[in-house]
Every structure is written in structure tokens, then in C-alpha cells.
């Protein structure tokens, strides 16, 4: 019954998780939140992570009720992500692996999301819509590998929403996307053009509803196309934007029309977390993968 410790810190969330045989034993996380109108920069984000990561490690072990002897493998995010935050987490993973004399496993962040999504929902072979601040891809498993069927040609959908929130100085606490969603729920009028003026006043809810309806419809379309191509009867949404209920509704509608089933997880696992890295690490560990220290450098892309 191997137990895997996982470290994640590729963006502004830092998490440490423990997974043993398909059970999440601990998954504490902290988020680096910047003031409205600003985004998070690599150096400041890394500083935040460095300040809390050792405490998070202790929290995870305490919550799981385990000691270093109970841990069989140390998993960490090798990439993709922001350089300085990735390095800050990787050096701790390497140091812990050496101190406890455990094997090290560098995990792909995207695969972490997918493996946790599959674990939590039980989906067997879904077409995956991976949507977050840093990634927008439609992924399916075909011939022993995860393959990208479709993706953004420029910025991720979460990045689009985050930047929009920044312009409007919407709060980043707990996340800009969450606050956009709450405001969009109150929008009553869907407008074709993103320009809403009422006399001397302006209204922004309509713009946010427009943003959501349009970008989410785009995502539903490319997911549907991939499902048709693969003959898939399952869809799984992972990544922070997957928390958005409106996106889930639109995906559900599309799935029902196709007689397919939609899977999604809640904010504990949609949003970056340490347990998803531990879970993906568990799968790799069982398959015999190891990452030698000399090859454990982070990769931003």
C-alpha cells in the first residue's frame, strides 16, 4: 500500500498532499492573492511559496497521521508552470527525498489534474476538457498516451477571465474567476456586443455574462468535436475554470444531447492541489517510474 507525498506550486497555489491507494489522506493548500487590478508575478509568488511550504508539509503529515517512514515516494510538479515557483517547490521535494531516502518523481501538472479527476469521479476513459489560468486543452487517451486534440492558440480561458477581472479591478479573493461567476449570475440581459451603457451609468454584469456564454460555448464546441472523433461517451472537466457551474451546465447539455456522461470535481480538486500530484505520482510509482536527482530539473513548458 504505497503512500505518496505530492508537492504542487506551479502557479499561485501551493499545496502538499498525501495519497495512499486511491485515498486522499491530506490536501492542505494556500493561495497567493494579489490586490484587485494586479496579477501574480513569478518572484513574489515564489517568495509566498517558500514562506509556507515547510508548514504545509507538516500539516499534511499531521492530517494524514503519517511520519516520514510511512511515505514511499516524493512526487512534485516538474512542469509546466512558472519558473521561480516551480523551482521553490522542487528544491524542497529534492531535499525531503534525500533526507528521508525516498525515490523522487517529477510529475506533469496537467496529468496530475487528469489523474485526480479520474480518481475522484470514477470516469474510465473520458474526453478531458482541461481549463485553467494556464492551460486550455481537450485531451483524450489514445494508444497508451494522453494526446491533445484541441487547445487554445494563444492564451488560456482562465487567463482571459483573469485579465478581464484585472481591468475591472474585480477582487482576486478567493480567485478572480470565482468573483466573475458570482457577478455573472446576477446578469439579466445577455448582450451581443460587450458594450452596456445605461444613461450616465454602466453595467458590467451583462458583459461578464457575455464573456462566459461566448468563451464557454467555444470550449463546449471543441470538446464535442473531440468526443465525436473518439466516439467517446464520457467527458471530464479538470482545472480551476472547471469549478464554474455555468460551464458545467453547458457541458452537461451537450453531453445529454449525445447520450454521454459528464464528470466534474469540486473546488478541492479542480483547483491546483498537492494531492493530485501525489495521485499522479502514485500511478507512476506503481508503474516503476523514478526521477533521478540529476534529471529532476523543472521545465516551464
Amino acid at each position: 500500500m504505497p503512500a505518496v507525498l505530492g508537492f504542487e506550486g506551479s502557479a499561485n497555489k501551493i499545496g502538499v498532499g498525501v495519497v495512499r491507494d486511491g485515498k486522499v489522506l491530506a490536501n492542505p493548500r494556500r493561495t497567493y492573492v494579489t490586490p484587485p487590478g494586479t496579477g501574480f508575478l513569478p518572484g513574489d509568488t515564489a517568495r509566498h511559496h517558500r514562506a509556507v511550504i515547510l508548514d504545509l508539509l507538516q500539516e499534511a503529515l499531521t492530517e494524514a497521521g503519517l511520519t516520514s517512514e510511512d511515505i514511499d515516494c516524493i512526487a512534485y510538479t516538474k512542469g509546466p508552470g512558472m519558473g521561480a515557483p516551480l523551482v521553490s517547490v522542487a528544491v524542497v521535494a529534492r531535499t525531503v527525498a534525500q533526507l528521508w531516502n525516498k525515490p523522487l518523481l517529477g510529475v506533469n501538472h496537467c496529468i496530475g489534474h487528469i489523474e485526480m479527476g479520474r480518481l475522484i469521479t470514477g470516469a474510465t476513459n473520458p474526453t478531458v476538457l482541461y481549463v485553467s489560468g494556464g492551460n486550455t486543452q481537450v485531451i483524450a487517451y489514445s494508444e497508451h498516451r494522453y494526446r491533445i486534440f484541441g487547445e487554445t492558440i494563444d492564451i488560456a480561458v482562465g487567463n482571459c477571465l483573469d485579465r478581464f477581472a484585472r481591468v475591472l479591478k474585480i477582487s482576486n479573493d478567493p480567485s478572480p474567476g470565482y468573483n466573475i461567476e458570482q457577478m455573472a449570475k446576477r446578469g439579466k440581459k445577455l448582450v451581443e456586443l460587450p458594450y452596456t451603457v445605461k444613461g450616465m451609468d454602466v453595467s458590467f454584469s451583462g458583459i461578464l455574462s457575455f464573456i462566459e456564454e461566448t468563451v464557454f460555448a467555444m470550449l463546449v464546441e471543441i470538446t464535442e468535436r473531440a468526443m465525436a472523433h473518439c466516439g467517446s461517451q464520457e467527458a471530464l472537466i479538470v482545472g480551476g475554470v472547471g469549478c464554474n457551474v455555468r460551464l458545467q451546465e453547458m457541458m452537461e447539455t451537450m453531453c445529454q444531447e449525445r447520450g454521454a456522461r459528464l464528470y466534474a470535481t469540486d473546488e478541492r480538486f479542480c483547483i491546483d492541489n498537492g494531492a493530485m500530484i501525489a495521485q499522479a505520482g502514485w500511478e507512476m510509482f506503481q508503474a516503476g517510474h523514478r526521477t533521478p536527482l540529476s534529471e529532476s530539473g523543472i521545465t516551464q513548458r
Binding site: A46, V87, V91, T95, L99, N101
Partner: protein
């Protein structure tokens, strides 16, 4: 910077990070006339007891290449490749409690050190119980940009070792 490990299973009672030992920085003594030597400014210590030693010098160009690889314990860590004319070299020596700890820190920090190899060259070695890090670049400014983040990562590794402690009968994998 002295990294004090927790010892066998023990943890330090006092938080040494807040003790204010000033690290002394020495300027490197060059070998020939005409060398321009920079003295790194003294500052407040954040790593507890001991001191870091930094040597910066504009290296003189040499005729032949040094042998590959950094010197192991006992050498004064010659460079793998001699600096070219006008290049700046900065050496940081970090004393640890043991060679084991110093090498552990090296293995944790080395894999990501190659990321900006275009502008600067960063080399690691362990000499006794000291970790040696050497930067080579055309401009001191490049080195300064690399040094600050590196010190942050180094500090994290030291805190990590201190918080978890070196187990007895540790063997390097």
C-alpha cells in the same frame, strides 16, 4: 552562512534565522597586478552563526583550459573552463555542519542551475563541509540577478534540512 542541522532526530529550540550574525564578505585576492577586485558589501546575517565568504574578481585570461569538472574535497575547486578576458567570477562558500549536508544542498540546487546558462555559468562543488558555488558572466549585473534568487532557494534548503533534521545513519541514494 552556517547551516545547523537538527542533529539525530532533534530539532533546534531557538530560531536561528532571527539571530543577527553579520556575514563577512571578503574580496578575492587576485594573482596578478591590474586586477580589479570588488568587495561585496557587508549585510545583516539571516542564516545564524558563521559567515559566508564571497570573492569576486575579474579574472585574467589564461592560456590553457583547466581539466573538466570541479575539484573534489581537498582541492580549491578549479573552474571547469577558464573565464575569458573581462569576465567576472563570483565565488560563494557556504559552510555546513557536514559534507553530507553540503552535498545534499548541492544535489537539491544543481538541477535547476542550468536554466539560464546562456548569460551566466553556475558551477557547484563540495569542498570538505563547504558548498561552493561559482558564477561566471560577462557582467556583474547578470551575476547579481542570479545571486539574489539563489540565496532565497539556498535559505529554503537550509531551513528544510534544519526543520526535518538529518536522520542517523543517513546514506546518500
Amino acid at each position: 552562512m552556517q547551516a545547523s542541522g537538527g542533529g539525530a532526530g532533534g530539532a533546534e529550540g531557538r530560531d536561528d534565522q532571527r539571530s543577527s550574525r553579520t556575514p563577512a564578505c571578503q574580496s578575492g585576492s587576485g594573482s596578478a597586478e591590474g586586477e580589479d577586485v570588488h568587495q561585496a558589501p557587508e549585510g545583516r546575517g539571516v542564516f545564524g552563526r558563521g559567515r559566508a565568504v564571497m570573492e569576486a574578481a575579474v579574472a585574467r585570461p589564461q592560456g590553457e583550459r583547466a581539466p573538466d569538472g570541479l575539484g573534489s574535497a581537498g582541492d580549491v575547486a578549479p573552474l571547469a573552463v577558464r573565464p575569458r578576458r573581462g569576465e567576472v567570477v563570483l565565488t560563494l562558500r557556504v559552510p555546513f555542519q557536514s559534507a553530507l549536508e553540503a552535498d545534499m544542498a548541492r544535489r537539491s540546487l544543481l538541477p535547476d542551475a542550468q536554466r539560464h546558462q546562456g548569460l551566466i555559468r553556475k558551477e557547484f562543488a563540495v569542498n570538505g563541509s563547504d558548498l561552493l558555488v561559482r558564477w561566471t558572466a560577462e557582467e556583474l549585473a547578470f551575476i547579481r540577478l542570479s545571486l539574489n534568487p539563489f540565496l532565497d532557494q539556498l535559505s529554503l534548503v537550509i531551513r528544510n534540512i534544519r526543520s526535518l533534521g538529518i536522520p542517523p545513519r543517513q546514506s546518500l541514494s
